[in-house]
Symmetry: C2
Subunit: 434 residues, 2 copies
Amino acid sequence: MPVRLDARSPDFETRFAALLNDKRETSVDVSTAVAAILAEVRARGDTAVVEYTNRFDRVNAPNLAALKVTAAEIDAAEAACSPDLLAALDVAAARIADFHARQSPTDLRYTDALGVELGMLWRPVAAAGLYVPGGLASYPSSVLMNALPAKVAGVERIVMVVPAPDGVLNPLVLAAAKRAGVTEIYKIGGAQAVAALAYGTETIAPVDKIVGPGNAYVAAAKRAVFGQVGIDSIAGPSEILVVSDADSPPEWIAADLLSQAEHDSSAQSILITDDAAFADAVAAAVEKLLETLPRREIAAASWQAHGAIILVESFDAALPIIDCIAAEHLELAVTDPHALAAKIRNAGAIFLGRHTPEAMGDYIAGPNHVLPTARSARFSSGLGVLDFMKRTTLVGCSPASLQALGPSVLALAEAEGLQAHALSVSIRLPEASR
Amino acid sequence: MPVRLDARSPDFETRFAALLNDKRETSVDVSTAVAAILAEVRARGDTAVVEYTNRFDRVNAPNLAALKVTAAEIDAAEAACSPDLLAALDVAAARIADFHARQSPTDLRYTDALGVELGMLWRPVAAAGLYVPGGLASYPSSVLMNALPAKVAGVERIVMVVPAPDGVLNPLVLAAAKRAGVTEIYKIGGAQAVAALAYGTETIAPVDKIVGPGNAYVAAAKRAVFGQVGIDSIAGPSEILVVSDADSPPEWIAADLLSQAEHDSSAQSILITDDAAFADAVAAAVEKLLETLPRREIAAASWQAHGAIILVESFDAALPIIDCIAAEHLELAVTDPHALAAKIRNAGAIFLGRHTPEAMGDYIAGPNHVLPTARSARFSSGLGVLDFMKRTTLVGCSPASLQALGPSVLALAEAEGLQAHALSVSIRLPEASR
């Protein structure tokens, strides 16, 4: 049974703290194995990547070029997909691209009153790598969500790696890659694929940034190559917080809680409501829906181990609890979701009103589904166009503005004991003003 | 002697690769010691912080409250600073705040043609921690550069920690903190200060993000608490790339190269020029200026071990070299710096023209001096307002827009084998359209 908390009970703070500290991730230390793979790929390039791929994915590639997906393979994969599914992918890709285009930043240029030219230029990274898991977790939606922001940012090379265990690849993943502007695809995975993207090999030129989800080996490899390249955040198990009043049909809310729980037995689904009878009705609906769910074992394990129902006196009283949970996904299934949303500081994404199940955002609404987990929405954001761009600031002094501001720089540099800093300014000032 | 490379010589690629791989950081593994300190502070709070502080900083504080800097201490520190220096700090603070205010993002709200409400809200983090080193590297400019973006972002609590070895604190650092909107200051440092900010103690409430430079212990502690809180990037040794034609006075350029070299023997200064005689003149000027420089030992060590002069045929031919170096600081001491700047992809900050020594940006121009090092300008940016804010995306469906887009979600969710996702949508659709 999921835990039941009442915000008005005297033991609430203790029990809420225990819920927040609920350790859902089982961390396996694979850093030694990963370090060895990274070192091998760095030293032996293509050869090492092919050796690991043949071994781990049970294939028999003669070289890395043979693992590069051809245009013909992509076309054949697309032809194997149902037209309905391709149409749905098209709708999703267009909506995601449209939303992300509105995130594109604008450059800043101005000259201040002293004549100092100032500015900030946004530029895309030159090349991005996208990791896509193989097997069951090979999701086309994830390809769209990771690659389209890079494309919108103007990244010229978007390199996808996806393992094809026993040579099998999900054709929808290739169809999604085609729609998302991916420019190169290799059938490789694991730490060896991350190493190839970060260090480069004879066949694969290195990238500047690597994004996308993966297993413990992939996560450890991304951590290890960080600095050599940029990485996205390392995602933890997914989570949803549904805030609902008693006017939502309990089955709707139960389905939303289960849509998160079915991802992974480590996932977390939490309901906050102001009505005890509604809480009971949702809990009962969860049990009922679980019976018919194909992934009921996973969903039931998640709901029983990590699920929670929190009863509050009012939704205003729930605000500090909501901000403290800082949920990846926050559904506001209440009569006036806008009023509540305006008061919330921390959430990865907010779903407004009873007709917006999180699944709409997972696939098609437009915003990214790669969102901050494990309370990190307190300080970080979902994936977006800015993750594939970087700023360069500009300063340009005229002789006059250098002379106007120079003396302040001399004072500060000398106070900090940095005489060459001072010298670099004073040497440019006319003799009289030094 | 710094290395001399010629972009036209046949061995250039090999020698340039060696320069890029020049390992300037001496990494000391302090992670075990740091893990112990973090665990102690997490378990014993104030008591542990005070014990470590008394031991490492050679003080004798009875409790953590005694290490909190009072308003009277700040006023006394300010009174101890020269009026000229305070005026210079005021100019710097005003200019930095003005530039950063122009980085503030705007929210996004719109309703698309189907009636889906979409948006993106930017919110400041609730509390930020700022680490300031003690002793010689206790720079007031660094306080302004780290705290002002948080203040401009709207962060309500800005908590500064700065060790006071033997009880000594740089008064200018407190004066800078006052100007930068810091709301709490504690005289603590090292891994224990980072732990106090991340986990909180009885006296110090936890923060959501920690920024600021520090020694190996501080860097390791920041790495370890990442996830619990956000952190800025871990800065490597500083670096400058000066691109100059022969019309710049060689002494000016020599001073600029030394202003970076004086920071640290691991710092790196590189000159790119299209004139061999000018290269010789700058090299000679460096040697001459070194003679009179107070920090000549550090600067000479940096210049000799890591300095480089690269001769190119033209500045257009230098572009791939410049982008590959992806310098933290890039000076364009050429006749038309704008034309060159427009073609550059990777640099933390660009200084335009002969009258803009990097020191102007270090102290007073306005843009941040916390910039990406070690080639990370390929994928990351200097510190700014966005580092203290995060985005929440919004999606709101009406019954009609849910019905319009629902079928595409059903197709994709079922293709991914996520039936509860599909159910959360279909359960909301009218019977006829499921």
